[in-house]
């Protein structure tokens, strides 16, 4: 979307940079505020802040997405207790009020995608309750990250929807847009700190978006042509065979993917009962699809890779989900312990050639 027309809302506000801390302090009174913070030696990671001063605006995106705040790595689903003559099972809801603050556009988009995946058919109540209590404040990417390709997935560098609140750093203040009821309520907590945005603020935002789109890095991902090939069976089997030799099955691409939600279920001992937990899993692991009989329908790695990319980019899922299973964050490029990240494989599918 080249033109930013009609994308900035009428009700947009602004807040002065020096007032953001005061707003965050107010948010902290009612919710856990979770935001990217400095980790060890330049690493950045999401963490609950104890002071508004910890909120950063100048940071490269975290390597682990904020996915874990709606879908934790170890996710208790139900509590199981022994009861007179049997077992008592009750859901383990996590209804902590949380604000995910300064979430990058791609990640904000992924949370709305995950919410759709967990509520569109059979509603996953554990997920829903947790997600309902999470408010996403996204931060547009004036300077896109070098490995991102969000313009190819329509998930950045600026969002038109899918956020509760969207912040844009203008030269002298912050533009605040709302995208949901939750977002409106969150902005209202800012009270007088929020001022109506002027026409010039809106112009500045449009300009910033144009500049950002124009400066996207070299990473691109041509999903449309790859989708045609994947969906019409025009990917040579040998291509999967060759590509699978460049994957060491670390599962990192799945685990850091903001849109992946494969899981396993395992009971964890909890006092004299158990917690039935959903845990992150990877469709690339050999044993992921193994059946109880020992038979594995996707025993060979190339079949697992094929399955992964069929899910990510086939027309069938695009039609159902409204987007490819990728938000262009570029994390898989960083974590891949081989050379088979999403842009590389999508490129190979499109060209029908792997030059690894």
């Amino acid at each position: 979307m080249k033109n930013g027309e009609d994308m900035v809302q009428d009700g947009a506000k602004t807040i002065a940079r020096q007032d953001v801390g005061k707003w965050v302090a107010k948010l902290m009174e009612r919710a856990e505020v979770i935001t990217p913070v400095a980790g060890h030696g330049g690493d950045v990671m999401y963490s609950r802040v104890s002071s508004p001063d910890d909120v950063m605006f100048d940071f490269a995106n975290t390597l682990l997405p904020p996915k874990q705040f709606v879908l934790p790595q170890t996710d208790p689903l139900v509590r199981i207790r022994r009861d007179a003559g049997g077992f008592k099972v009750e859901p383990a809801y996590d209804e902590r009020r949380r604000v995910l603050f300064n979430v990058r556009s791609c990640d904000a988009r992924s949370i709305s995608f995950l919410t759709k995946m967990h509520t569109m058919d059979l509603v996953d109540d554990v997920f829903r309750k947790r997600a309902e209590n999470v408010t996403v404040v996204s931060l547009t990417c004036n300077i896109p990250c070098p490995l991102g390709f969000c313009t190819c997935t329509d998930s950045g560098p600026f969002l038109k929807d899918g956020y509760d609140v969207q912040l844009t750093l203008l030269p002298d203040r912050i533009l605040v847009e709302t995208g949901s009821e939750k977002g409106v309520a969150l902005v209202a907590q800012g009270g007088d700190l929020m001022r109506p945005a002027a026409g010039t603020d809106v112009d500045q935002r449009k300009l910033l978006e144009e500049v950002a789109r124009g400066s996207m890095g070299k990473e691109t991902c041509h999903f449309a042509s790859a989708m045609r090939r994947v969906s019409t069976g025009r990917v040579e089997e040998d291509l999967w065979v060759r590509m699978s030799d460049w994957c060491v099955e670390c599962g990192g691409c799945n685990l850091v993917c903001p849109t992946c939600y494969c899981f396993s279920v395992k009971d964890l001992r909890d006092g004299d009962g158990w917690l039935r937990c959903r845990t992150w899993d990877s469709c690339q692991y050999a044993a992921f699809t193994m059946e109880a009989s020992g038979h594995n329908p996707r025993e060979r790695r190339k079949d697992r890779m094929k399955r992964r990319f069929f899910h990510k980019v086939s027309a069938q899922y695009f039609q159902r989900d409204g987007m490819v299973g990728c938000v262009g964050c570029g994390r898989c490029v960083k974590v891949c312990l081989g050379t088979t990240d999403v842009p590389a494989v999508v490129g190979a599918i499109r060209k029908g050639a792997w030059n690894g």
């Binding site: 980790g39 060890h40 874990q68 934790p72 670390c250 964890l268 974590v335 312990l337």
Partner: protein, 619 residues
């Protein structure tokens, strides 16, 4: 949520990993983007590093065996009991020993060494994996002056040539496999040597297929080309290396393939070349020679001490190098006051001591002879286990002292390239379990009055002042940045070159080779066995092959007329066994590999050897 940086507890690569915990319990892990080794990447095992401590069967309360049953005890009582009993064994001039660990911190291993050498006044201290790696460390060390690795994984990535003697690098050291892939992607030449043409072999410019344990034959083929070159002669003259003529003489009749000549040319012509060595199925003598042959190849081509070139010894366990360097090995290498009496290795300790302290290990699951280890341990007069997990060994113990797992304790470990890094606590130890260093410090204090340690940092300070490699380091200095490397000192003045070796094993009567796979088998390691995601493959395999298995290539299976799961009779000069076959596409014809976890089923055929000639028949 608490997020704490620590060092990965699995292989020796030394990756950085964040642990995440909530309310004192682990909930997950995260990669570290700027860590100099892992650089944002984690392998499957690292991604599941939190699982075992969460799901595993943990030791939580001190136990003392009374009337044949392990009964709960209080800490002072348990430590007192152990100290008194050990002291009485020493006083009675009975043999005692300590088994340290490659999954422990340096501080814990240091205290284990102090307990053995000072407290129990014995040189009988060892770690179970030492026997498998000693030949490699020794063979490479002969040429490098005792340094196991003179290159880093970054050097692999930017090398023009990588020579890899491997089992299955993608499985054993995924992070190293990544560096190799990057090298190949950049156009580097990868040369692989091994019984299996694994993923690495398929990416290689040249793969030398050998029988298991005969990797030395391929190395000698290349070495014979190099050793007589004028370049090698001038390097030897310049550096003063010894032994070139001997190698040249003994390899003079070596037949060399076209591939061997090409490989030699690539290596000699490369500006940067890295030689990577993993354990194989070779018997100790051959493994040692193979290691020195490989390092000699690096020396003769000028790659031994050239920037960006060098040798890497792949170590299978996170703190294997630390255990080695801190002298958790039989005898006395540095310091200590051994009584000069027994200096038993792990395997003999099980048979010959009366009292044994096992720290964070389970000898029956690590030592080659499972049955013997379990039997020998059950006969011990006094067995003390200091560990975080319930193991076979812990079940047999007369006293159990429960300690924190890697994610619950503080300390340091030393990765295979010599990086000393912090291990940090993210979660609380379960139940009454205490930090391993505290428990061992208590034991040391009881056994050697006056020797007290007030903090784990103080233990490290003693290491820094006693072991030259660690000089100048402290917990405080390691806290910043990403750890530190010491200055490896060359031991011995002259470099002694050596050729590789490979015992000829096959004969018309026994035309195939049955070998224990040299690839580290994680299935029995508590960090994998107790992890729901990581243990699936090994559980499934054991379920599928309850009566054991050997891996064979498709061609051999066809010749034998067997399919997956069918049984064959394997016979060596020692004995025979009937086991099921698993078909592997990538294995060399004539090779039968036994995954380490299944070694018990073919023990009678191998009779303690790592590779043996066999005859195979379908049943």
């Amino acid at each position: 949520m608490r997020t704490v940086l620590t060092t990965c507890p699995f292989c020796g690569s030394g990756c950085g990993v964040y642990l995440q915990a909530e309310n004192g319990k682990l909930v997950g892990v995260a990669p570290s983007e700027h860590h100099p080794i892992s650089r944002g990447k984690l392998c499957m095992r690292s991604w599941g590093a939190h699982e075992a401590l969460l799901w595993g069967e943990r030791l939580t309360i001190p136990l003392i065996r009374r009337n044949g049953e392990q009964k709960q005890a209080l800490w002072p009582e348990a430590v007192g009991f152990v100290a008194t009993k050990l002291a009485s064994l020493v006083a009675a001039k009975k043999r005692v020993g300590v088994i340290a660990s490659t999954r422990d911190t340096n501080e814990e291993n240091w205290l284990a060494v102090r307990l053995a050498r000072d407290g129990l006044r014995t040189g009988s201290i060892d770690f179970c994996l030492r026997a498998a790696y000693h030949p490699l460390l020794d063979g490479v060390g002969q040429v490098t002056g005792g340094i196991p690795s003179t290159a880093t994984l970054d050097d692999v990535e930017s090398a023009e040539v990588v020579l890899l003697v491997e089992g299955d690098l993608c499985t054993s050291h995924p992070r190293a496999a990544f560096s190799v892939m990057k090298c190949v992607e950049r156009g580097g030449h990868l040369i692989t040597v091994g019984a299996a043409k694994t993923q690495m072999g398929r990416l290689a410019s040249a793969h030398f297929s050998t029988l298991p344990g005969s990797e030395g034959e391929a190395l000698n083929e290349i070495l014979s080309q190099i050793v007589t070159s004028s370049e090698a002669k001038s390097i030897v003259a310049e550096k003063g290396y010894e032994g070139r003529e001997e190698i040249a003489r003994s390899l003079s009749g070596c037949s060399v393939s076209e591939q061997g000549r090409a490989a030699a040319k690539w290596i000699a012509g490369a500006g940067r070349a890295v030689f990577v060595l993993a354990p194989t199925s070779a018997p100790p003598g051959d493994a040692r020679a193979c290691a020195s042959g490989l390092a000699s190849m690096a020396a003769l081509t000028g790659h031994l001490d050239r920037e960006g070139s060098g040798v890497i010894t792949l170590l299978g366990r996170s703190n294997l190098l630390g255990a080695w360097e801190l002298s958790a090995v039989p005898g006395t290498r540095q310091g200590g006051t051994s009584d000069g009496g027994a200096e038993l290795d792990a395997e003999s300790m099980l048979d010959e001591v009366s009292g044994l302290v096992v720290i964070a290990d389970d000898p029956p699951s690590v030592l080659p002879d499972v049955k013997h280890a379990a039997e020998a341990m059950s006969k011990l007069e006094f067995l003390v286990v200091v560990d975080s997990f319930v193991t076979e060994t812990a079940r047999m113990a007369h006293a159990v002292l429960p300690i924190a797992g890697f994610a619950e304790t503080e300390g340091t470990i030393t990765s295979m390239d010599g990086l000393v890094q912090r291990v940090r606590a993210a979660a609380d130890p379960p139940g009454k379990a205490r930090h391993g260093w505290e428990v061992l410090a208590d034991l040391v204090a009881k056994m050697s009055p006056g020797r007290t340690y007030r903090s784990v940092a103080e233990v490290f300070d003693e290491i820094a002042s006693s072991v030259p490699y660690y000089a100048g380091m402290s917990h405080a200095s390691l806290e910043q940045g990403w750890g530190a490397r010491g200055r490896p000192g060359r031991s011995g003045s002259k470099v002694r070159l050596g050729e590789a070796a490979a015992s000829k094993t096959v004969s018309p009567e026994f035309p195939m080779v049955l070998a224990l796979d040299g690839v580290m088998d994680w299935g029995d390691d508590p960090l994998v066995r107790h992890a729901p995601t990581l243990s699936r493959d090994s559980y499934a395999r054991r379920k599928m092959f309850p009566a054991g298995l050997v891996e064979v290539c498709k061609r051999d299976a066809d010749d034998l007329g067997v399919r997956r799961g069918w049984k064959v009779k394997v016979r060596s000069k020692f004995g025979e066994a009937v086991v099921a076959v698993e078909i592997r596409d990538d294995l060399a014809p004539g090779a039968l590999l036994v995954p380490y976890a299944f070694r018990g089923h073919t023990a009678g055929v191998l009779r303690g050897a790592s590779a043996v000639a066999v005859k195979v028949e379908s049943t």
